[in-house]
């Protein structure tokens, strides 16, 4: 029995699709949000930070075309994206983004969980607060009823519906689940080094604490001389 368990545990990382909220959130981004929202400052290579396999990232990058100078006739060329390219925007220019969205621009996602007041939690709330428009409310074209805002509308069509994506790990893709996952992904995107930051921080604090104790002892011994020879 024990042996079976052990073998099972060892095999786990290879077989099970142990996906994290950030990885599921990336899947939502990739399949839903990426049609409109850019990730200008995040490169494909950065995605290894949430534990995606390099082969998967390479395949994802290769599905993007990026500008690649001009050919011999002076016509613009493109090439498949590489790991070091930024994930970038689905639109060729801000004007095109505006045109496609009734005059609103979908904000870039790179730091949205930081600049949005309330962070990832707020983003999650926005995604969950679409409701049918009550009778009598008039909204202009390209505006959607959303109770997360004081003015009760937003220029983004409701992006999420139950079952919209199929999670590889079998998690049920309900709207709240997807909202939470994409929130976790955006939180990581805005603070990519958070775990390195706290690990380094603990090491630095530990070192300084040790040094403080040693110096306190040393200082105490040194100053005892002055106190002793006081008249």
């Amino acid at each position: 029995m024990k042996r079976v368990l052990l073998i099972g545990l060892m095999a786990l990382p290879l077989t099970a699709q142990a996906s994290t909220p950030e990885q599921r959130g990336f899947q939502v981004y990739r399949q839903v949000c990426a049609t409109c929202h850019s990730l200008d400052h995040v490169t494909f290579a950065d995605l290894s930070g949430i534990g995606l396999a390099v082969a998967d990232i390479k395949a994802y990058a290769a599905s993007h075309q990026v500008p690649d100078g001009v050919d011999d006739d002076g016509d613009p060329k493109t090439r498949p994206a590489r790991l070091s390219d930024s994930i970038g925007s689905p639109y060729p220019s801000e004007a095109m983004a505006r045109l496609a969205n009734h005059g609103d621009t979908p904000p870039d996602f790179s730091r949205l969980a930081m600049t949005e007041e309330g962070g990832a939690g707020r983003i999650e709330t926005i995604l969950r607060s679409y409701e049918p428009k009550p009778a009598g409310v008039v909204l202009s074209a390209g505006s959607y009823y959303n109770t997360a805002f004081a003015q009760k509308h937003i220029g983004m069509p409701p992006p999420l519906h139950d079952g919209q994506v199929t999670y590889a790990d079998g998690t049920k893709a309900t709207l709240p689940q997807m909202a939470q996952d994409v929130g976790a992904f955006l939180d990581w995107v805005a603070h990519p080094h958070r775990s390195a930051r706290s690990h380094t921080g603990l090491a630095v604090l530990g070192y300084l604490a040790g040094l403080t104790v040693l110096l306190a002892l040393l200082k105490h011994r040194v100053w005892k001389r002055v106190k002793e020879n006081r008249q």
Partner: protein
């Protein structure tokens, strides 16, 4: 003492006596034996500045001063340059730690009368340092070209434009004639590191002046006998070292566990001249001066009072007429000074809020008290105040 010319140190000593000078100034140097931990803060400021310069050099390797690239290059440093996030955190945290150390350092000098004869030049070079640090911090904050960078700079430029006759000409000369754009950004970049490096030179003057007259101490009584002093090493090397460890721990907590305290989240959105942020708030260390700027209904008045609040500090050694240095022996001044510190902090808090209603009242009252302290209390209080008996020696208080 002097070694024969044949030994390497003797050879160096005969040509450039840095080893003996170092020994004289940093090992054997006589220090009052009764300094408290408030005398650590000059060393804290020095270390914070050193860390700023070193981290700044590494940031400069990857920063591009142009409107199109500045924000991008900061994102690249933060995300892709290896340990870039750490270098940037050290630099951003260093500014707050430097200002915090400086404010305590200045408060200490005010409380113990360290600005009085014979230390006037220490006070003046210190103020020179404070102004240089403010210029460097202001210019540096523009560099990442976020929303607060842009709009913070706009507030200052508008204030400058309010100066009659020379204001607009001065502003356009500074910005290179085309408003807040790439030319101006490049200039702020140069201004930033030129002031940062000049600070090192002024610190040398500041510390040289200190070593001529020696440190003041909590009693304000100058040391006289050899019993009053101890050598810098090992006494104050260990005391400064211990303090420094604690200072660095606070620094570490700030940059590793509370990095968001250091910046306004708004500055992670790229500068956009078409979108004015709801309220333009300064960094905490400028908040008191911003509070003064906004306490006055017309721009020029605010600007004059704000600049004057630093300018008046230059006159402090001559405004204070009391022969007693330390506030320990000045029962009234002690409370008056506490009031000054409270007024300054209140101005800072008010500076972070919209200048309306209660906040406006608080900031006006605080500005009035700030000026009254320097222009009325310092010169005239000694006429009425009955000071406590000052001990004959700096060790008197210990008996």
């Amino acid at each position: 003492m002097s070694k024969p010319e044949t030994s390497p140190t003797g050879w160096l000593e005969a040509r450039l006596p840095i080893v003996s000078a170092f020994r004289r100034e940093y090992v054997d140097f006589a220090m009052p034996r009764n300094l408290n931990y408030l005398w650590n803060f000059g060393a804290f400021a020095t270390i914070a500045l050193a860390l700023l310069i070193v981290s700044g050099i590494f940031l400069a390797l990857n920063y591009t001063p142009s409107v199109a690239e500045a924000f991008n290059s900061i994102e690249t440093i933060d995300r892709h340059v290896s340990s870039g996030w750490l270098v940037r955190a050290i630099h951003m945290g260093g500014v707050s730690m430097l200002f915090a150390a400086l404010y305590v350092h200045m408060a200490r000098s005010l409380y113990y009368g360290s600005y009085k004869t014979p230390r006037e030049l220490l006070w003046l070079t210190g103020l020179g340092l404070f102004i240089l640090v403010m210029i460097a911090a202001f210019a540096g904050y523009i560099l990442p070209w976020g929303q607060m960078s842009y709009w913070g700079a706009t507030v200052v430029i508008n204030a400058m434009n309010a100066v009659p006759v020379i204001g607009p000409a001065l502003a356009s000369w500074l910005l290179g004639g085309e408003g807040l754009g790439s030319v101006a950004l490049h200039r702020f970049y140069v201004l930033h590191f030129v002031t940062a490096f000049s600070i090192i030179g002024v610190i040398v003057l500041h510390v040289a002046a200190l070593h001529v007259v020696g440190s003041n101490n909590p009693t304000g009584v100058e040391p006289e006998t050899s019993d009053d002093v101890v050598p810098f090493h090992p006494y104050y090397t260990t005391k400064d070292g211990l303090g420094l460890c604690l200072f660095l721990m606070v620094y570490a907590v700030l940059i590793f566990f509370a990095p968001d305290l250091l910046t306004l989240a708004n500055n992670y959105a790229m500068a956009n001249p078409l979108v004015t942020p709801g309220d333009i708030t300064p960094e905490w260390y400028f908040a008191p001066f911003y509070g003064i700027l906004r306490a006055v209904p017309f721009k020029l008045g605010g600007l004059l009072l704000s600049a004057g609040s630093v300018a008046v500090l230059f006159a402090v050694p001559w405004l204070d007429r009391s022969p007693v240095k330390s506030a320990r022996f000045r029962p009234v001044l002690r409370w008056a000074l506490l009031g000054l510190f409270i007024a300054f902090i209140a101005l800072g808090v008010a500076g972070m809020h919209k200048p309306t209603g209660l906040w406006l009242g608080i900031s006006r009252l605080s500005v009035a008290y700030y000026y009254a302290y320097f222009l009325l209390l310092l010169p005239f209080l000694p006429r009425f105040e009955k000071t406590r008996p000052v001990p004959a020696s700096l060790r008197g208080e210990n008996r």
